[in-house]
Amino acid sequence: MTISPRSEPAAVDEALIGFIQKQFLYDRPGVQLSPDTRVIEDGIVDSVGILQLVGFIEKAFEISLRPDDLVLKNFETVAAIRTLVLARMA
């Protein structure tokens, strides 16, 4: 999946939520992710998961994240990840 470089925030959220649901919440179909769900602190994404998530982001949005992008602040929630993605697409 490649998302248009001019993606809208809502489309970025949708792509991220879709990936996290499919990859990390397949056993919990009842859990509804929102842009404000704390995906790291709630244990949804673990240490291997974070690498998968970064791989997905770089491929889907055709961006490359910088080493110093990989901090908790940028990944706490889907909204935080979206902010990072949009900044790197700009």
Binding site: Y26, S47, V48, P67, V71, F75
Partner: protein, 525 residues
């Protein structure tokens, strides 16, 4: 010398009442506060009939409170049973029932999730948060009940041989095994470590490992034995090496202890060059092999610290160690596991249990004061690994590690591999057989095999390959879900492939070597 682990806290509270004992996020408790809080927990448990020899499970996330709770359990002569807070409720329930837990300390949400068959099992349930309904109906106590209790010491019954804690580790037959460690065995290790690493009240020890992982024993009780500060690493920070490096700097950690894969990720992604880590004086690692190329880089980035490779299965505590004086130049070389710690003896034996000469491969056996008492409720399993062996003039009980080693010229041991199907991933030990038996319990699975996929950062990832029964269907997601409901997350295969057949050896066994080697056989269409 202390006879009980909890005496370490009591002694520290009288020597250093106002020094910080434990820090987690915004919470800091002094030694006096930790002592008093743990006394209140002890009074609460006694008041509800929990006594010496009982098991008290801790099914909760790490926090300053969790340390107080743990000491409260020890103070009444009971054993604490830490359960992985990320373990699926089914597994947590198994552990509770397996060791006939008398009391449980947890949260409201976790209590609700349990699937206990015997509703009368738990005599006391204490919730550190949530669960209003259970509290109102009298099914559980709440934290406020603890705070009403006296903070004075409780009578301390017991013997040094009493069990202090039970740690559940992966079992090859599909069920986790409870490793029972006595106060004496734990103290034998803690006393050695505190002296060898020169711990003082000025030290700030990291606590990275979860409570159910035996690396935490050094952190928690080593800190108390010296009156040092225990700094609990928030789990979410561990996922981000840059944040973790910053945390080590800001918290002025002096002694770090973790699995090597955490350190590898710090080297690769932590931007350590930007950090001032001069407070760090000792870096200890254990649980898996540390690739020497990453250790070399770590030492060049943090040159002021001393480095130690610690070795020992949960059943023996740490039993050997290797002070890193030089890193092998060959990237393919492995770091030695070193020589026996004080109080232990290690020896390499052959299949007939005769000593093998230095330079030859043998299996490592351990004897000494740090050995476990046995596996809870599994005398057969215990007999498989704890045996009286006659060596020369000595006859003693030895623990059979399953690790293959070779004694080197300088008397230290090199780790060569495993005798069986156990692997390490992210420092956790995993019996592949346990994963396989969970896969076999899925109705669609005909055959299953789990193999390690070596990974630089995590040690190993896990791949499972299954053959489904005729006209059965099960997606990878469904099989993973099946595993997730029964296994801790770190044991769930990262990949589950479905094939038409599994490769077999000439004797008809599943050929794991071929599965490890690659895609031969190919996925099913």
């Amino acid at each position: 010398m202390a006879r009980f682990l909890d005496e370490l806290l009591t002694n520290a509270a009288s020597r250093f009442p106002d020094r910080p004992a434990v820090r987690f996020r915004a919470t800091e408790l002094t030694y006096l506060e930790l002592e008093q809080l743990s006394n209140q927990v002890a009074h609460t448990l006694i008041g509800h009939g929990v006594k010496r020899g009982d098991r008290v499970a801790l099914y909760l996330d790490k926090s300053a409170l969790s340390i107080a709770v743990l000491y409260g359990v020890l103070k009444i002569g009971a054993a604490y049973v830490p359960i992985d807070p990320l373990a699926p409720p089914r597994r947590a329930s198994y552990i509770l029932e397996n060791c006939a837990t008398k009391a449980l300390i947890t949260t409201g949400a976790k209590l609700q999730s349990l699937e206990l068959r015997d509703q009368g099992l738990l005599k006391v349930t204490l919730l550190i948060e949530g669960g209003k309904e259970d509290v109102q109906t009298g099914r559980a106590l709440e934290w406020a009940d603890v705070q009403w209790e006296a903070d004075t010491p409780v009578p301390r019954p017991g013997e040094a041989e009493d069990q202090a804690y039970i740690l559940y580790t992966s079992g090859s037959t599909g069920f986790p095994k409870g490793v029972m460690i006595s106060h004496r065995a734990a103290l034998s290790f803690v006393d050695w470590a505190a002296e060898r690493f020169g711990l003082t009240c000025q030290d700030r020890l990291s606590n990275h490992a979860p409570l159910h992982f035996d690396l935490s024993i050094f952190d928690i009780f080593g800190a108390a034995s010296a009156g040092a500060c225990l700094i609990i690493v928030p789990p979410e920070i561990s996922l981000f090496p840059i944040d973790l490096a910053q945390f080590i700097e800001q918290e002025r950690i002096t002694v770090w202890y973790s699995v090597p894969s955490v350190l590898t990720r710090l080297v690769l992604h932590g931007l350590l060059g930007n950090r001032n880590l001069h407070f760090l004086r000792a870096v200890l690692f254990a649980g898996e092999v540390f690739p020497v190329k990453f250790l070399r880089q770590l030492i060049s980035l943090v040159p002021g610290a001393d480095y130690y490779n610690l070795y020992g299965p949960t059943e023996t505590n740490v039993c050997t160690y290797y002070p890193v004086d030089r890193v092998p130049e060959d990237d393919c070389a492995t770091l030695p596991i070193g020589k026996a710690c004080a109080g232990c003896e290690v020896v390499a034996l052959d299949a007939e249990r005769k000593p093998v000469p230095p330079g030859e491969e043998g299996e490592l056996y351990v004897r000494g004061g740090t050995l476990m008492s046995g596996y809870w409720g599994m005398p057969e399993k215990t007999r498989e690994v704890l045996n009286r062996i006659e060596l020369g003039e000595n006859t003693d009980v030895y623990y059979r590690t399953g690790d293959l080693v070779r004694e080197q010229e300088d008397g230290s041991y090199a780790f060569l591999g495993r005798r069986d199907d156990m692997i390490k991933s992210r420092g956790y030990r995993i019996e592949l057989g346990e994963i396989e038996s969970i896969l076999y319990s899925h109705p669609a699975v005909e055959f299953a095999a789990a193999v390690p996929v070596p990974d630089e950062q995590f040690g190993n990832l896990i791949k499972a390959v299954v053959v489904l029964k005729k006209s059965s269907e099960a997606s990878e997601g469904e099989l993973k879900t099946h595993c997730l409901a029964r296994l801790p997350r770190y044991m769930v295969p990262d990949v589950i492939e479905t094939r038409d057949v599994l490769p077999r050896t000439s004797s008809g066994k599943i050929d794991k070597r071929q599965l490890i080697a690659g895609p031969a056989g190919g996925p099913r269409n």
